[in-house]
């Protein structure tokens, strides 16, 4: 059985995701480029995941289901990257909302593989959470 893997997530920018978001925040293109977590090869092996595998990313603040992608970068086990988006912001801690800079460059979270029928978290689901 695959492990639950602990990571530090750093949010970063990507020009392709940015461009897609400018065209529409509600498009499949934007979702596919945003609901993504980029992982080191070793972490992918520990999760028994391949590119596109849906992963539950969870911490004290919230959770999202996103797709895994293997990093092209050098080895960085335990360090994961997500593009700035409503998906990554679901995980940014409450206790930074005190006037300081939000902690979206050092998000602690756990990763686990999901049931096959679990889908990527939809933007409509994120909107419903915000408005609940």
């Amino acid at each position: 059985m695959a492990e639950v893997v602990e990571v530090i997530i750093v949010t970063v920018r990507d020009i392709f995701q940015d461009e897609a978001g400018r065209r529409s925040r509600f498009s499949d293109e934007y979702k596919n480029l945003s609901a993504l977590i980029i992982l080191d090869k070793q972490d992918m092996i520990r999760l028994e995941a391949k590119d596109g595998q849906k992963l539950l990313v969870k911490n004290d603040v919230g959770s999202v289901v996103v797709a895994a992608k293997t990093s092209e970068d050098d080895m960085h086990p335990g360090l994961a990257f997500m593009y700035n988006s409503p998906w990554s912001n679901q995980l940014v801690s409450d206790n930074v909302c005190d006037g300081s800079i939000p902690g979206n460059k050092r998000i602690k979270a756990t990763l686990s593989t999901t049931e096959e029928n679990m889908d990527i978290t939809q933007i409509s689901e994120l909107q419903a959470r915000m408005q609940s």
Partner: protein, 407 residues
């Protein structure tokens, strides 16, 4: 020629042709700018109250009613508005006794404050093109965030004193937690730092500049970096959100590093501001209130403090006006959740998570494409622009003026 308001480089050499409501020909736009120009034709907003389409007059009247009856309104956004709209916003905030904040509050604000007060030396991007032989991208990735930065100013162009440019005379250094697109361009000069490890890295540079052995990093590579910095004739550091987030309350370490570098040679700093007129907002607020952001006009006089940050004010205010920004997409969940529960007024040309949650939506013209105005580039250069598309939509400034007249 058109100006691109897609980022804070405000590229002035754009050629764009629109025919029958579509972008038919463009020249000089980057990928990001192309998305920005295409956005003129997708998901435009219409005046709405509670999800129902209404006339513009009714939407403006409702917005005025909400703001007038609020005891502690928040006015947020502003980094994607012209200086003229920002000035109208400050007048509105004064009239309402509102809290006013922008995205710099939790991004480049702590650095911008030091630039505008002269604590940290800065320069223009034209100086960079003409003189810089070393550019350090620290926690920034212009290939993703400001795609024409390298080609127009910092790496590829032939400047007055840099005719041999990147082939011989310019070096690009990247300090980042990941090997970004920019880091791949200059992989010999890529320095990886751990998340939150920027202060340690700065101390290591200070150590090598003082002839000591660095405590972190590859010692040989760090000593080579120190030698390179000492040989630099005219250097510039471009800090991005990565460095700001990592340093936070240790900004004096960055000041120390710059002081040391400037004892040896010349080093300037230009913050990698994201939104096209964030710096304009900071400069204007400083001129009008003495503070660059996080200002409350409650009781008349301008008060400043972390309690007036949008992150806090979203939880304590009783109504909010958001202009040219999508905080429900871009801010932490707790803030987005707090804003979504308020009577929210969104002034925006396009549909967003924020307009979807707003009680009142007021459509506006896109600055640079459909509305003219003035903005301040990331390096402090003021740039004026004219609209290139005819529209009946009101500009942000006109909408804010109408709201104020209705209060």
């Amino acid at each position: 020629m058109a100006i691109c308001t897609g980022c804070s480089l405000l590229c002035e050499d754009i050629v764009a042709t629109y025919e029958n409501g579509a972008l038919t020909h463009v020249k000089n736009l980057c990928r990001k700018g192309h998305g920005h120009f295409q956005a003129a034709f997708t998901e435009r907003t219409v005046p709405m109250i509670d999800g129902e389409q209404v006339t513009l007059d009714r939407a403006i009247a409702k917005a005025a009613e909400i703001l007038k009856s609020a005891k502690s309104p928040l006015l947020y956004g502003w980094s994607n508005s012209t200086l003229e709209a920002q000035a109208a916003g400050i007048k509105l905030a004064e009239k309402l006794g509102a809290t006013m904040d922008d995205t710099s509050s939790f991004c480049q604000g702590i650095l911008m404050e030091r630039i505008l007060s002269g604590k940290i030396p800065s320069c223009t991007l034209d100086d960079v093109r003409n003189y810089a032989d070393t550019s350090i991208f620290w926690g920034s990735d212009p290939s993703s965030s400001h795609p024409r930065h390298l080609s127009r100013f910092s790496y590829y162009p032939r400047g007055e004193k840099r005719q041999k440019s990147y082939e011989e005379e310019r070096t690009c250094i990247v300090v980042d937690v990941r090997k970004s697109a920019t880091a791949r361009l200059c992989s010999n000069y890529y320095f990886r730092v751990a998340p939150g490890g920027d202060a340690q890295f700065m101390e290591a540079i200070l150590a090598v500049l003082e002839g000591k052995i660095p405590k972190v990093g590859d010692k040989k590579k760090m000593i080579e970096l120190g030698s390179h910095l000492k040989k630099t004739k005219w250097g510039v550091i471009f800090p991005g959100p990565g460095m700001i987030d990592s340093l936070q309350d240790k900004m004096e370490l960055f000041e120390r590093l710059l002081a040391k570098l400037n004892e040896i040679t010349t080093f300037k700093v230009i913050p990698m501001v994201g939104h096209y007129n964030m710096r304009g907002f900071n400069e204007l607020m400083l001129e009008k209130t003495g503070f660059i952001n996080r200002v409350s006009f409650k009781g008349g006089a301008a008060a400043h403090g972390p309690e007036h940050s949008a992150l806090v004010a979203a939880k304590t205010c009783d109504a909010a006006l958001v202009i040219g920004s999508d905080p429900l997409s871009a801010l932490p969940f707790c803030t987005a959740h707090a804003l979504a529960r308020l009577p929210l007024i969104a002034i925006d040309p396009r549909r967003s998570l924020t307009t979807d949650a707003a009680k009142v939506v007021i459509p506006s013209a896109i600055s640079g494409l459909e509305a003219g105005g003035t903005a301040v580039r990331m390096d402090g250069v003021k740039i004026k622009f004219e609209p290139i598309i005819d529209t009946n939509l009101l500009s942000d400034e006109q909408i804010l003026t109408r709201i104020m007249e209705a209060i």
